[in-house]
Subunit: 435 residues, 2 copies
């Protein structure tokens, strides 16, 4: 995935779409550009066999599909076994003795409590180099004449070129996974959350149910939203309405507040269609007895009674439970990209961008994360580069809890997350930051 983004951004910069990159990172005086990508990737339900979407060209598909942890954790075979232990659930971070992640970015992860054999989250964090060229080919420059609505050329900003490059990187990655699945038995799919820093701006691209927030002077700035059957209801219903053949006669694109019973035929029932945000009444017809395309709420929300996340990569072979109906046509590989201009604000070392997989957010609110940011960072000197790793560890521990009463429990005695949990903490104004 990182390579796809790197390649797309490199392609963009080299084609003259963006201005020649300037060195930005004081940490990295050799870099001619600094688009890092830090994508925690979590498998979608149903569990995937291969959670990693990384695509390093030097490795074969088989190697990629085998279990590994992020390279920057520098795990020995023994360390890998400990990281893979569902009973101990030891929190993993890059070693203090090793090379720090760029900008002192903090990272921590923990494996699930047994729901799948391996930790299916995957992560990487890199500074990549792209060379700027001044040659321009195919870039539209002159306004053309013709119809009145074409009187001038639409302005295309550098920012929208980066956004487009990231959007296409997601799509190309998904297509690559479609090609490689043949003959390699690579099944499953994953969601992806990618952060790119380029020329003073942070781009956060999300497809799935991971989440990114900025905590700035205690204020929370959402940098992503989750894509689930609930948040994507209207897109999914519209697709089912326009392409009813995709529902295979098994599903209805309408939503009802509960399952319609055959005996209710002809009665009035509340419903929502692809155009509605409110509810209204309709008379129940035979087609309404089919299973609804979208049903359930919260973590139990499902599309086609099968999947709880509606954007991401892979899952090309996924079928409806006990059916041959393909689910992929309803899944989107396109991320929503949000842009944050780092130059619009004077950031302090306590301002951070926090990325987490669903294992974190299932049991932790944005406000709780902000409180942990405040509590942990204030316990460290502002220029101590280890504070962001400590924060990532605290967030993972806070979501995992401690083993007690036959389960992992939080201090309030509620259940902790039994899922894989991965957290990046990227400082926006800390030691060795870009500004």
């Amino acid at each position: 995935m990182l390579n796809r983004v790197r390649s797309a951004v490199a392609h963009l910069v080299s084609s003259g779409g963006a201005p020649p990159p300037r060195p930005k990172s004081p940490d990295l005086p050799n870099s001619t550009s600094a688009p890092p990508a830090a994508p925690p990737q979590a498998p979608r339900s149903p569990p995937a066999r291969a959670g990693s979407g990384s695509a390093a060209p030097a490795r074969t598909v088989e190697a990629r599909a085998s279990f590994c942890r992020p390279t920057f954790l520098q795990l020995s075979p023994g360390g890998l076994r400990r990281a893979d232990d569902h009973a101990g659930r030891a929190v993993q971070s890059p070693p203090d003795t090793g090379r720090r992640l760029p900008w002192s970015t903090g990272y921590a992860e923990v494996i699930n409590s047994g729901k799948s054999r391996h930790n299916e989250d995957q992560a990487c964090c890199e500074v990549v180099y792209v060379e700027g060229r001044r040659s321009v080919s195919g870039a539209p420059r002159e306004p053309s004449r013709g119809q009145s609505c074409w009187s001038s050329q639409k302005e295309v900003t550098h920012e929208s070129l980066v956004v487009g490059a990231i959007e296409n990187a997601f799509q190309f990655m998904d297509e690559q996974m479609a090609r490689e699945r043949h003959g390699h038995q690579v099944e499953g799919g994953c969601c992806a959350l990618v952060v790119v820093y380029l020329l003073g701006k942070v781009y956060v691209a999300n497809a799935g149910d991971s989440r990114a927030i900025i905590v700035r002077n205690g204020e929370i700035i959402p940098m992503s939203r989750e894509f689930t059957p609930e948040t994507e209801r209207q897109r999914l219903q519209m697709l089912g309405f326009l392409k009813p053949e995709l529902l295979g006669g098994e599903f209805t694109h309408l939503e009802f507040p509960r399952r319609v019973q055959p005996k209710e035929l002809g009665q009035r029932m509340l419903y929502r269609d692809q155009n509605m945000t409110g509810w209204a009444y309709k008379k129940i017809e035979l087609e309404d007895l089919r299973f609804p395309l979208v049903c359930g709420e919260g973590k139990k929300a499902r599309m086609m009674a099968t999947i709880g996340v509606t954007r991401g990569l892979g899952d090309h072979n996924l079928r409806v439970c006990s059916s041959t109906l393909p689910i992929k046509p309803f899944l989107s590989s396109f991320p929503e990209v949000r842009v944050y201009d780092l130059t619009q604000y004077e950031h302090c070392p306590d301002d951070v961008l926090v990325l987490g997989t669903d294992g974190l957010w299932d049991v932790t609110s944005d406000c709780e994360v902000a409180a942990t940011v405040d509590r942990v960072l204030s316990a460290y000197e502002p220029n101590d580069p280890s504070r962001y790793t400590a924060l990532a560890q605290a967030l993972v521990l806070g979501a995992r809890g401690t083993p007690r009463d036959r389960g992992w429990r939080l201090p309030n005695n509620k259940l902790g997350s039994g899922d894989d949990i991965s957290v990046f903490v990227i400082p926006l104004g800390g030691p060795g930051s870009y500004s």
Copy 2:
């Protein structure tokens, strides 16, 4: 249109979806419920023959299709001629001597400077009565068992029932116009902006390019957004992508920053598809030479090179210029409904909800409206009920300008709006208000 909303809300209340209504308006002690509707409706481009979408059952289709102004203006035949005078463009408001609009709502309108024979905006404002019954039929009450995602019944709030009723009222109105066009030669279409007050909440429903904002203690709260080929680009492109037959081989669903020339075949060009918010490069193919489904910017933005507003009512017979390709499949009659809870804030007499047709917003920003609200209302006593009409008149005058230099000019010498202009000012905490 008002009757559709009234009927939908009455249906909703009488079916037990919402609690029995209570009297709310001190002005109107006899009301058992107070859902007023104040819909300024403006015709869409291309100009419509019949701008009025009101559907009073006592009038025939022919009478409805003939030119009229809002009943509450109480225009004499002479007054109607003056209101219809493109040279004078006299501002019209309800007479001071007549019965005030509910809650001292202010209203003003002015005809266009000659672009169409009549004022094609239309408006009404009424208190309607719906009787609450306690009988409940078909309302789902008991949770059902079955699949895990159906473990409980989805909660349906009263608010979402009102939203659904309004959404369906728009759809039914559009279907009614489709039925009535046959044999009655009623062509054209219009956008619609509707405000409903019910049980402490204000519902603002918009389909088209009118706009509603709340100005509260100087702060601007947008209560609608416009639906144009630009704001609806992705919905329109998705439809063209999923149903290419709707493009008739004449249009491409892709967007380009300028018209692609035949000589550019095989070259690289920036584009956006239905999934993208950014721009990326593609190689130009033969299909890309077709006219784009969406093109142009701002007021010049067009869908299928024909229409500049993509939601509203009617236009069932509209075709692409010099073609037989129907446009209606791309138009949506569904509004976006925003809800404002009046009880969450202590409103003062200077807090208002301003509704305006595109004639106002083409030349007036939200901030300029807020400044006019402050300037005009502070010149009147807080309990003077005429202040809201004075404000509506000031807003219309400010958008129309004065005749000078062969045109209607604003004080800054820019062109005023040559379009029809209609403005409602609804006080949120003024004399005779609901709270």
